[in-house]
Amino acid sequence: MDLKLKIWRQENAQAKGEFKTYNVAGVSSDSSFLEMLDVLNESIVDKVETPVCFDHDCREGICGMCSLYINGRPHGPDDAITTCQLHMRKFKDGDTITIEPWRASPFPVIKDLVVDRTALDSIIQSGGYTSAKTGGVPDANATLIDKYSSDLAMDAASCIGCGACVAACKNASAMLFVAAKVSQFALLPQGQVEKTKRVQDMVARMDELGFGNCTNTYACEMECPKEISVTNIARMNREFLSSKVCSEQ
């Protein structure tokens, strides 16, 4: 396949940045999108120019490191998949592909297509855990958990923290990301002890970091590579309201 790529190039966080056009020839339709970028970079290096920087690591769809806004969609034109699992057969010979970084105020560009997503870590740090210390915990089977709740918690916990929800949301809201973590613990008995503080702290941190408000467009759910449901957002809203209305804290 021969392709024309319009790629966002930006030297560093302060630089202005612009699109540059590249032609890449002879791409195998069996290669992944990132391997196509590897081919491009190889050709750029051959010309002794700086290759395009992009985030990637496991290349099997689980680490959440890869990003890219491809032709108007986070993680590109396939559903329920990360960019590293996107394959070139989803494109046609001669296509023009526009590749942009995630765009959101809390995700500043570091270089080219690489953005800083540490804001998501900060949200988890504000309460996305149980405070159990190492050791001194009861036997794993001491508390029974019904399979249905446990499965729902697992659905929520499968979030890979890639930030596609924020990138897809017209408001740059991180509600799906936060809700997935809040839900996981709201559904499990282990999470009950700290539930009031957790939801309030995590929402407060999310707001502080400058993520937008949720207006229920559900674009996040549509673009989530792990298909995390917006029912989790409703559950978080419920948790939040009851923490404000019912709790004395």
Binding site: C63, Y129, M154
Partner: protein
């Protein structure tokens, strides 16, 4: 001559760890605050250790190569984690888990360490459940278990096909809690480039900030490395792109011995290589071999016709197929251990029966679908089938999957004693980065167990024991001459690579090295092949330092420079692996020397001469490393030959 002592505590095997804990040194809370620990790596071992040190009250500096601790490659483990809980009541025990692990490792691991691993395995499950890890449960609400290779009991706990992810997120949660409290300082997008020694003890590291290119110094009273394995020496592996053995290779250069580097695991069921631009290999869970049957065409003409696209696998009748694992190993059939299955696939493909590019075999679900129905197969493996279809664009319900072995895990690593301390005092190594628990072959679902065991339940005790002697040592200034010198060394290394200004990218050398490693130090090794590899690697090194091209600048975000630094390490590591493989004149576990096999083509171990840990001392770039041996004694276990026929 380096002296080393495994420091196995006295007493009976089952009392050793308790004895150790009962007599170890402790640090009081007010002193803990004054002691710094550097933890490099944020995976199961590093993340869990950093979180636990923080909880204890130490001042922790945690280094992460990615943008977040949650990205560590532990996340990619699919199958599960073993523990000797015996919840199903099927006869499991700590002793049995210990025994299976030693046997699975082909009697090349240390009894004391492995017994402790089995002992703390149960605590890991308790800990993870308390953290809210959503392990699979049955309708009664109790935890569910499944079976894995190399065991006769169901002892594997799992969270769908994402067990590694869930365990890592548990550790990441614990770590996040400590970061919020301020006991742990998190440094992300930082790579460790050197270890700093003061008076022979590990006292700090030199890092490069991957965002800015800034080289920085960090001091501590002890350094813990948990940066995973070195499988990426082979270029193509199931490891993540940034997974690299850099931290342990650099520590090796500073004097930490490297143990059993030739022991790498090759996983039999990966999606085959599709072309020259492939960057990594994707694993398909071992569980597929429960229902899938592995075959190649019986007639070489059919294999050729399939390769040329003239025939489809579904055109071949049962008589025209060779179910070679069932033929060779009637007792275990498709469920032979990983090393055996991998070698058998290679043997068929080398003989010309491979399909696809010639380096692939079929994994066929036709008879399972006929027996159980498509729905049952979908329920069992649906997500894996979907992943396969996304990557290969073929429907595995209708046409057999293509698979081929790939590099997966490194059993070898930094030599550590019972305390997980290397030969450099104050340098501790945990998880895949050390060599300690898996011998020559790792069983499925044991990597997660070992990572968390080291991180939660071993290092917090043993590092404290070490620091108990350090309470009078004040914080180290990074202005000390040792730090200055180490930073200069790192800077010189960077400048050296930047200034070669040749014409070939780091990837060019990496691919070339990977090919030589895969062909000569891969699944089947020979004395000649290994000698050839040593020569070729020396040539690659020479060319690398003459003709490398690193574009961009050192003082910026520059993945090309990162790669170049890693490839330089991989060259040394590859060479070391060839030395280790060449010296070990036997076949055991993942190490298969063609000269040492039974008439039926099975691995032939030599316990008389090689029942030891082969550890290597660094002697300089391109200089032959020196071998030291740690003899292995088996007191509780009778050493036997593995047989799967």
């Amino acid at each position: 001559m380096i002296k080393f002592d495994s420091k196995i505590p006295e007493g009976k095997l089952k009392d050793k760890w308790n004895n150790y804990k009962a007599h170890q040194g402790l640090v009081n809370p007010s002193n803990k605050r004054k002691l710094d620990i550097i933890v490099v790596g944020t995976g199961l071992a590093g993340g869990a250790a950093a979180a636990s040190f923080g909880e204890l009250g130490f001042n922790v500096k945690n280094f992460c190569i990615s943008d977040s601790p949650r990205r560590a490659h532990s996340i990619a483990a699919q199958g599960g984690i073993n523990a000797a809980k015996n919840y199903p009541g099927d006869g499991d025990s700590i002793y049995r888990l210990f025994y299976d692990t030693i046997k699975g490792g082909d009697y090349r691991s240390r009894e004391g360490n492995v017994y402790r691993l089995a002992e703390v395995s149960n605590d890991i499950i308790d800990q993870c459940v308390a953290q809210g890890v959503p392990f699979a449960r049955d309708y009664s609400g109790y935890l569910d278990n499944r079976s894995f290779g190399g065991a006769q009991v169901s002892r594997t706990f799992y969270a769908r096909g994402q067990t590694g992810q869930q365990l890592l997120l548990g550790a990441y949660g614990a770590l996040s809690k400590e970061i919020e409290k301020g006991t742990v300082t998190s440094y992300n997008r930082m790579e460790m480039l050197d270890l700093v020694l003061i008076d022979g003890k590990a006292r700090g590291i030199i890092t490069r900030d991957l965002k800015t290119g800034k080289v920085e110094r960090h001091s501590a009273h002890a350094v813990v490395i948990a940066t995973g394995g070195y499988g990426n020496v082979f270029f193509l592996s199931t490891n993540a792109m940034t997974s690299n053995g850099g931290a342990i290779i650099r520590s090796w250069r500073r004097g930490a011995l490297m143990a059993n580097p030739a022991f790498v695991q090759i996983h039999p069921t990966c999606i085959p290589v599709h072309g020259d631009f492939q960057s990594k290999l994707t694993l398909m869970s071992e569980s597929l071999r429960n229902d899938g049957r592995i075959w190649v065409p019986k007639n070489i003409e059919d294999a050729v016709a399939i390769k040329e696209g003239k025939k489809k696998p579904t055109d071949l009748s049962e008589e025209e197929r060779d179910y070679y694992l069932e033929r060779r190993y009637p007792a275990f059939g498709n469920l032979v251990p990983r090393d055996v299955a991998s070698r058998a696939a290679k043997e068929r493909c080398d003989a010309g029966f491979g399909i696809g590019t010639g380096l692939a075999v079929y994994l066929d679900f036709k008879s399972a679908i006929a027996r159980l129905g498509e729905d049952v197969i979908r329920a069992r493996y649906g997500n894996l089938f979907q992943m396969y279809e996304k990557i290969v664009d073929e429907n595995p319900y209708h046409t057999p999957m293509m698979i081929y072995p790939a590099i997966h895990y490194s059993m070898g690593g930094t030599w550590v004693d019972y305390e997980l301390q290397s030969t450099i005092p104050g340098l501790f190594v945990g998880g895949e980065a050390n060599f300690s628990d898996h011998g020559a072959n790792r069983l499925g679902a044991s990597a997660l167990m070992q990572g968390l065991s080291d991180g939660y339940f071993v290092l917090p005790y043993t590092v404290q024991n070490y620091l108990a002697e350090e309470i009078r040592v004040p914080r180290f200034s990074t202005d000390l001459p040792e730090f200055e010198q180490a930073e200069k060394d790192v800077q010189a290394r960077i400048d050296q690579l930047m200034n070669i200004k040749g014409s070939k990218s780091p990837d060019y050398f990496h691919k070339k090295l990977g090919k030589i490693m895969w062909e000569n130090v891969g699944m089947a090794r020979t004395a000649d092949g290994l000698a050839h590899a040593k020569t070729e690697i020396a040539k690659i090194r020479e060319e690398f330092y003459k003709n490398l091209l690193v574009v961009g600048t050192a003082e910026s975000f520059n993945p090309e420079l990162e790669k170049a630094l890693r490839v330089a390490d991989f060259i040394d590591m590859g060479e070391l692996m060839a030395f280790d493989a060449a010296h070990r004149d036997e076949s055991c576990g993942g190490h298969f020397r063609e000269e040492f096999q039974t008439p039926e083509g099975e691995a032939l171990r030599n316990d008389k001469d090689y029942m030891y840990v082969g550890t290597w001392e660094y002697k300089g770039e391109g200089v032959e490393p020196e071998l030291h041996k740690e003899d292995l004694q088996y007191e509780e276990i009778e050493v036997k030959t593995r047989n799967y026929k």
